[in-house]
């Protein structure tokens, strides 16, 4: 049949236009009245922060309910954790080594060379280990998640997942955020240990000290309040890296430029957030009297 719509234009307009089909409007989000009054840069910042908050809220809504994508969580944990270990290990080893070599002359000037293991140990466990590992992961994992999700978005893989009746947010985003949240603390523990080995080698280069004695001095000078707050903040580092990588990738603009932008901004924002979280964590630790 050949059907055309100008056969009944006036009749349709008068009698059918508003009766033949119910109007089903799509929901629109209201913008606060004061938002357009703000300067452009600040408005964009607030809009982005709002969108990230909505993204995080959605994560907490989705994470509790089945189906739980355990296979994908383990796969991501392997990719994020195991595959990052060589880079994290090498970086931590060099940091431990260099920090010790650089600190030694200053301590020697005050005749406090024997304090070297304790000082380096505290620095690494409390601050340098977690922050350096988190920054390395923000670069490696943040960019990889941002680029992978961005490319999935551009090539319609996320849409394909959605039309197959799978919740792509739960499959892709929740699994990655959970993996980063739990893998980065493990990487930090390993990074700390490797950094201390690096530090031991630096001490050993210039003086006779056994491995046992070195670690005995490190652990004698540290206590509960050095380990626990530093360990707790690494979960937040991991969560932030996962959220930002996923948010940037999931909301990537079309085209290869969009993928590059997602990867790049994932690294920048995640690294910045690591420092902000670190600052807040130090304030909280101080507030509870652990510093």
């Amino acid at each position: 049949m050949l059907m055309t719509y100008n056969a009944l234009p006036l009749f349709k307009f008068i009698f059918m236009e508003n009766k033949s089909a119910p109007t089903v409007p799509a929901k629109k989000r209201k913008e606060p009245f004061w938002l357009p009054l703000l300067p452009d840069g600040f408005r964009d910042f607030l809009t982005e922060a709002g969108e990230i908050s909505r993204f995080v809220t959605r994560f907490f809504k989705e994470v509790w309910f089945p189906p739980y994508e355990f296979k994908e969580i383990f796969r991501q944990s392997y990719e994020i954790g195991y595959r990052s270990l060589p880079l994290v290990g090498l970086t931590a080893f060099i940091i431990g080594l260099v920090l010790t070599l650089q600190s030694r002359p200053t301590l020697a000037r005050f005749g406090a060379e024997s304090w070297l293991p304790a000082m380096v140990g505290i620095s690494i466990i409390r601050e340098i280990g977690p922050v350096i590992v988190a920054l390395v992961c923000a670069g490696k994992i943040g960019s990889s998640i941002g680029a992978e999700l961005g490319s999935m978005k551009v090539t319609e893989q996320i849409d394909a997942m959605e039309v197959s009746g799978t919740n792509p947010f739960r499959y892709i985003v929740v699994s990655r955020i959970l993996s980063t949240t739990f893998m980065i603390p493990i990487l930090v523990i390993m990074g700390d240990a490797i950094a201390l080995v690096g530090s031991y080698l630096a001490v050993k280069l210039t003086g006779a000290i056994s491995l046992t004695l070195f670690f005995q001095e490190v652990f004698e000078s540290t206590d509960f309040s050095d380990f626990v707050p530093a360990f707790i903040k690494t979960f937040f580092f991991g969560f932030a890296i996962g959220v930002i990588g996923c948010y940037k990738g999931y909301n990537s603009k079309k085209g290869t430029e969009g993928v590059g932008e997602s990867a790049n901004s994932s690294v920048v924002v995640a690294s910045l957030l690591v420092f902000v979280i670190d600052l807040v964590a130090v304030q909280i630790t101080q507030f509870f009297g652990y510093l």
Binding site: T4, A21, N167
Partner: protein
Amino acid sequence: MMEPVTAPVGKSTAREYGEAIIEIAHLHKSFGENHVLNDFNLTVRRGENVVVLGKSGCGKSVLIKCIVGLLKYEEGSLKVFGKEINQLKQKELDEMRARIGFVFQSSALYDSMTVRENLEFSLRRHGKGKSKQEILQLVEEMLENVGLANAINLMPSELSGGMRKRIGLARSLILKPELMLYDEPTTGLDPITAEEISNLMLAMQQKYNTSSIIISHDMHCARLTANRLAVMIDGINYAEGTFEELSKITDPKVHAFFKNDKL
């Protein structure tokens, strides 16, 4: 709104096919000031293949993304299997999507999975308690249907464009959907592969008795696959009919599609 063409009225398609499974009435969809769908109307009946023709960027893909609930429309009615898409809850929408197959323009195979895992993906979620052996049998059956049984363990990056289209088709058909949506299935393929894909689409439609909406501007594909065509121009269903009927129309906008492809 644009004035549609005048054309002879042929026999009713409603008598030839089953009940309406897609009913689109006065559909509006815009992106900012860009009104992509502007009072679009279309009905697709069970067992029918409808090709939607239109220039690139005219909103054909937006139409099928609205049908499957990937995009929300602003006004009008869009009923699939008798249910208004914009009013469905997420769970209802997921259940409906299990009855619809969607072949993407880019094939959209999951890069991190093998061909087998790509095909298993939706089966594991909607397979209704199928065993591993049953799932594997279904995957192998689908791959044989599209002539790629040997590709089961390959990664998408190892496949050619035509192979990716075939795997995309097999993946969409694995849940035995009642309705297939094809987004430019032959775009970017050489004429021989494009014809193979068109014939494969027809064969699969006959084998699994599906209805289809095929978005295309490939006239050869349209001629091979369409029971009926709808020409989308400026967001409206500008003209509708069989390939033969539309190819006789003298209206320049419709004629432009057919001038190089007369029967």
